[in-house]
């Protein structure tokens, strides 16, 4: 074991390695604590999946009489089936094991389909839609914000003012309204897109028809998210940051040096903005894994948002924890990656 110690000491001697190891430990601790809290929260929810099923079974709208003895038997067997038997501590240990093996057991809401299968079904759509929209709106929003601000300050442009007006209007617009306006416009008045839920088949296979139906079904939802987020937070924040930078001394100095516009924009404005905007992007990408319930509901799309909503609503702790832990891991990982990337973007961090 001596050599292990030696190796460790050697690695930790390097400041970068120390930094990485510390961050990694922090990440695992975050995941562990968040997972434990989520487990407890879900456990103390005033809703129990088995009781919910039983109440539906004996009092639901299509119920028939059930013998109490049979009901109790059903209750016991359901607890067993769903892996919910045992004391709180025993269950906690079971659920911890699940986190490490990434097998979250059977889902309750779609029993006997395993939780991982439900997640696998929904995940590609959620990731596809949300990573695309997050990236695109981040790029559009930031570019527009920086460029228009720069032009506005340098030359005084009306475009920038108009864009700002649009952004200020769109920022507080409820997403729901925007989505409905788009549906009304492009499904009813100019019918080039199908109704939500309609449109061709959605399969994760790669074929021309499939790409067409994916475009058909996902264009409007993507557009609705991009419009709101690009012109909303992304545009406004990058504009504010750009305004700050433009009043900095180093910027004025660059201008006085007579550097071309593109160099000033790229190296002096955009790069400085990136530091904070990348943090925002990374965190946004991390939250993708909890899905987008509203988008999924309005556009009848498969995704994690609907699953987590259903899971919580029916007390399906297996599925809820499965999806939520994915989200926890993603956010923690994203933060970890940002921490690693910071020194590369921002030289100041390197010296700390």
């Amino acid at each position: 074991m001596y050599w292990v110690k030696k190796l460790l000491r050697k690695i930790l001697a390097h400041p970068v390695a120390r930094y990485v190891v510390a961050r990694a430990i922090l990440m695992f601790a975050t995941i562990f604590i968040a997972y434990s809290f989520t487990f407890l929260l879900l456990k103390f929810m005033p809703l129990d999946a088995v009781e919910f099923i039983i109440s539906q079974y004996i009092a639901g709208s299509a119920a028939t009489y059930q013998d109490p003895a049979v009901i109790n038997e059903l209750r016991q067997s359901l607890y067993e089936l769903f892996g919910l038997k045992g004391t709180l501590l025993e269950q906690y240990i079971t659920f911890l094991k699940r986190l490490f093996t990434f097998d979250f057991g059977p889902s309750i809401l779609a029993f006997p389909t395993p939780v991982m299968e439900l997640i696998k079904r929904a995940l590609p759509w959620t990731i596809g839609l949300l990573s695309f929209t997050t990236l695109v709106s981040w790029i559009i929003g930031n570019l527009l914000g920086v460029i228009t601000t720069y032009i506005e300050v340098e030359r005084g442009s009306r475009v920038a003012k108009i864009l700002q007006g649009i952004a200020l209007t769109l920022r507080p617009t409820p997403y729901y309204i925007m989505a409905l306006v788009l549906i009304l416009l492009f499904v009813y008045f100019i019918p080039i897109f199908p109704l939500p839920g309609a449109g061709g088949m959605l399969t994760p296979e790669f074929s021309f028809e499939n790409i067409i139906s994916i475009i058909r079904r996902f264009t409007l939802p993507a557009l609705s998210i991009i419009i709101i987020t690009a012109f909303g937070w992304n545009y406004i924040s990058s504009r504010t940051l750009a305004l700050n930078i433009i009043s900095e001394d180093y910027f004025i100095y660059a201008e006085l040096r007579g550097l071309p516009d593109s160099v000033v924009l790229k190296r002096y404005v955009l790069r400085n903005i990136l530091i904070s905007q990348i943090t925002f992007l990374a965190l946004q990408l991390g939250t993708i894994f909890s899905g987008a319930l509203l988008v999924e509901t309005i556009f009848a799309l498969p995704g994690l948002g609907t699953i987590i909503y259903r899971a919580i609503n029916t007390g399906d702790i297996n599925t809820a924890l499965g999806v939520l832990s994915l989200s926890m891991i993603a956010v923690s990982l994203a933060t970890f990656v940002i921490d690693l990337v910071y020194p590369i973007i921002d030289p100041r961090v390197r010296f700390r």
Binding site: E51, S55, L118, G197, A198, T306
Partner: protein, 725 residues
């Protein structure tokens, strides 16, 4: 400017990338619907998937109770595919024998049941449907672990086959209604027949039964892996086509979820939705404005279906103080101004609910059997002797007794009743319990989509407050509500306790009611409203009397209608005197349909063969009756004269042999077929004509889109070349 140029190019490229494939896909007429290419709109029946997005659309295992599987009504499985022995005709309370050949034969002690199945039926993969399938289903459930098949486990000791078309079931306890567990009464039967050749040897806890093996007129053709829609294709060699000559007209049936109510409204306006479970009134208004072909329970407004299976209202937890005091409950009833509640449910096109003071859905049949005979006694119990004219007129127009409306709004009587049991009004004008604490009523109401009970709760709370009682309404998510409701941890719940839907047979309470009445069915772990355990004595009888009546009802075969009705009337009077819950009416259901592409929808009163229950298994009979209007292009839809009447069996005294089936009026060629000695069935052989007229609509959208793109590209190219120079 470098930035500008590259920006324009980028945007143009993006636009091009998005628009080009779209244009390519726009050529088909109804390519927007998930149907095979080239299929015209007129070949497809589009129905609302009321379950929404399915987390796993390939899970057709319905055995584990309470889970989200596709073997139910939202996907179309129950309506188009499932194996169901009997259906209830909701319009006349009669049982339709479908896969069963007539009603079962019971032994005189009701401990063995002989069920015959239709000869000549087969699953859609060609495997014959025999008694083996039914026996297998029963035995499979008997052996299944835990809570699976609990109904069978409670009732059945064993089942065996006599011959290929006859089976015998031995029951644990005498039961003249055993076949109800195979009957689609409300929504679906508790037990659907499993195809033996698909399920044999499979683990009920793991098997997903995908793709489903059907015995209905359709097979699953495609489904959305995203879980929104299921496309069913007509099976041309369907057993009933061979046996009875009936064939559904739509080549495809699409069960689809369009997302929000707004999208559903748009879909119906665009004729891309033929049947919807129910619209919220505000959306119905939009639909009616945009689509003149919309019909509902009636062909013309008012459209709402007034006979939803459950009467909605407020239920007392009769095991909790002070709601365990009859006077308190009766006083609260007299503090309700019914007209206010009634008018709050007026639809945008004039639909109104039918007041139902008894826990019986007030169908025309129930009016005759229960409401009118009990009128005098109900008047004695406080029914309003002078109901408002507006309600009277409405009832008269429908052909109902206008004097049976609801309980009288009578604050004085309420005050008298409350003071009688020691309640008093304090100096602050509020009501106090006899022990001196302020009386606070807490009403629990389900949130989300259960809008009607919630609305009732708020109206009633307001009325009680006006009288000086403090009332809180707590709206919770339906999951929380259901748990609380079943555990009985509420004071007053806004929900739909207790009725048996369109059935008149009160011996079926244990099968069809969601609230139990008989104390032998009380479950202390799930007391719910507590009515089954509630002890009382009254003018019309005590708890013991009620139990005796209910026991007798259960022991009486459903065919002895006179006895059942007279006993049930006694039980209902006891209920009315005790008033364990307040039922107003079934909320009007805007179960509308679009008559643009399809006709033959049921409508009251002229074509009233079924209620508009598209999400119930009974929808099968609607699908069988539909035919194209000619307004939508068709290719493979069957255009036929009025489709044949289904084999209908009327109840007859059991254990005598199964009754004859009602012959149907013949429209064209009538062929009498004897399926089985005891079950002669007259069916109509329909002349099927398949017309292959593919009317091609010219769609200008792609052309316009292409023109726009070319215009933009041209402009950009022009600009570039000018600049370069």
């Amino acid at each position: 400017m470098k930035i500008k140029k590259s920006g324009i190019v980028l945007i143009l490229l993006l636009l091009f990338a998005v628009v080009t494939p779209l244009i390519g896909s726009l050529q088909a007429v109804h390519a927007q619907l998930p149907i095979p290419p080239g299929v015209p709109r007129g070949d497809v029946l589009i129905v609302h998937n009321d379950h929404g997005t399915y987390p796993d659309p390939t899970n057709f295992n319905w055995l584990v109770p309470g889970v989200f599987h596709a073997a139910a009504g939202g996907s179309g499985y129950n309506q188009l595919c499932a194996g169901i022995l009997y259906y209830l005709n909701t319009t006349n309370s009669e049982i339709i024998s479908w896969l069963a050949a007539g009603l079962p034969e019971y032994s005189p002690d009701y401990k063995t049941v002989k069920i015959r199945v239709v000869k000549g039926a087969y699953w859609n993969d060609g495997t014959p449907f025999t008694a083996d399938d039914v026996v297998f289903t029963i035995n499979y459930l008997l052996e299944a672990p835990g809570g699976i098949g609990s109904v069978i486990k409670r009732l059945v000791s064993r089942a065996y086959k006599v011959d290929d078309y006859t089976l015998v079931v031995e029951l644990k306890i005498p039961n003249p209604r055993f076949h109800y567990i195979f009957t689609a009464i409300i929504y679906q039967p508790p037990i659907k027949i499993l195809p033996k050749h698909q399920w044999e040897g499979k683990d009920p806890l793991k098997f997903k039964a995908f793709p489903p093996v059907c015995i209905g007129p359709y097979n699953l053709k495609a489904y959305d892996p995203g879980g929104n829609w299921f496309l069913w294709e007509r099976y041309e060699d369907w057993w009933a086509t061979k046996l009875y000559g009936i064939k559904p007209s739509p080549k495809y049936v699409l069960y689809i979820h369009y997302g929000t109510e707004e999208a559903y409204a748009l879909a119906m306006v665009k004729h891309e939705l033929d049947a919807k479970k129910t619209f919220l009134p505000e959306y119905l208004e939009i639909v009616l404005k945009g689509n003149p072909y919309v019909g509902g329970w009636r062909a013309k407004p008012p459209l709402a279906w007034p006979f939803d299976a459950r009467i909605k209202g407020l239920a007392f937890n009769v095991l909790r103080y002070p709601y365990n005091i009859t006077e308190v409950r009766r006083a609260l009833v007299h503090l309700i101004n019914f007209t206010e509640v009634w008018l709050a449910f007026k639809g945008p096109e004039g639909s109104l609910p039918i007041p139902s003071p008894l826990p019986v859905v007030r169908t025309p049949a129930a009016e005759k059997v229960y409401y009118i005979p009990l009128k005098e006694e109900l008047l004695k119990l406080g029914l309003d002797p002078n109901p408002p004219k507006v309600i009277r007129d409405y009832l008269k127009e429908l052909g109902y007794d206008p004097d049976i409306v609801w309980y009288k709004y009578d604050p004085e009587e309420a005050e008298r009743l409350l003071k009688k049991v020691g309640f008093y009004r304090g100096s602050d004008g509020k009501w106090y319990l006899p022990n001196g604490t302020k009386w606070v009523i807490n009403i629990l109401a389900p949130g989300a989509y259960e809008a009607e009970p919630q609305r009732m709760a708020f109206i009633v709370a307001d009325q009680w407050r006006r009288f000086g009682i403090e009332v809180n309404v707590l709206v919770v998510e339906s999951g929380v509500f259901y748990s609380s409701w079943s555990k009985g941890t509420f004071e007053i719940g806004a929900f739909w306790p207790g009725g048996i839907g369109p059935l008149l047979d009160y011996g079926a309470l244990p099968y069809a009611a969601n609230t139990q009445w008989n104390s032998r069915y009380f479950n202390p772990d799930a007391p719910s409203v507590g009515w089954a355990a509630y002890n009382f004595t009254g003018k019309y009888g005590s708890k013991k009397d009620l139990d005796e009546i209910l026991n007798e009802l259960e022991a009486t075969p459903p065919t002895e209608t006179d006895k059942i009705y007279s006993q049930a009337r006694k039980a209902l009077l006891i209920w009315a005197e005790q008033q364990p819950w307040i039922g107003f009416f079934p909320a009007p259901f805007y179960t509308v349909n679009d008559r643009y592409c399809w006709e033959g929808w049921p409508s009251y009163p002229d074509n009233y063969y079924m209620d508009p229950v598209y999400w119930w298994a009974q929808m099968l009979f609607i699908v069988l009756k539909l035919r194209p209007t000619g307004r939508c292009p068709v290719k493979e839809a069957v255009v036929s004269p009025p489709s044949p009447t289904m084999p209908t069996s009327t109840p007859s005294p059991s254990p005598t042999p199964t009754p004859p089936l009602t012959p149907s009026p013949a429209a064209t060629v009538t062929v009498t077929q004897t399926i089985e000695k005891t079950v002669p069935t007259t069916v109509l052989s329909t002349i099927m004509r398949t017309i292959t007229t593919a009317i091609r609509e010219i769609d200008w959208t792609p052309t316009i889109a292409l023109a726009v793109v070319l215009f933009i590209v041209g402009l950009a190219v022009g600009r570039f070349t000018v600049r370069k120079r």
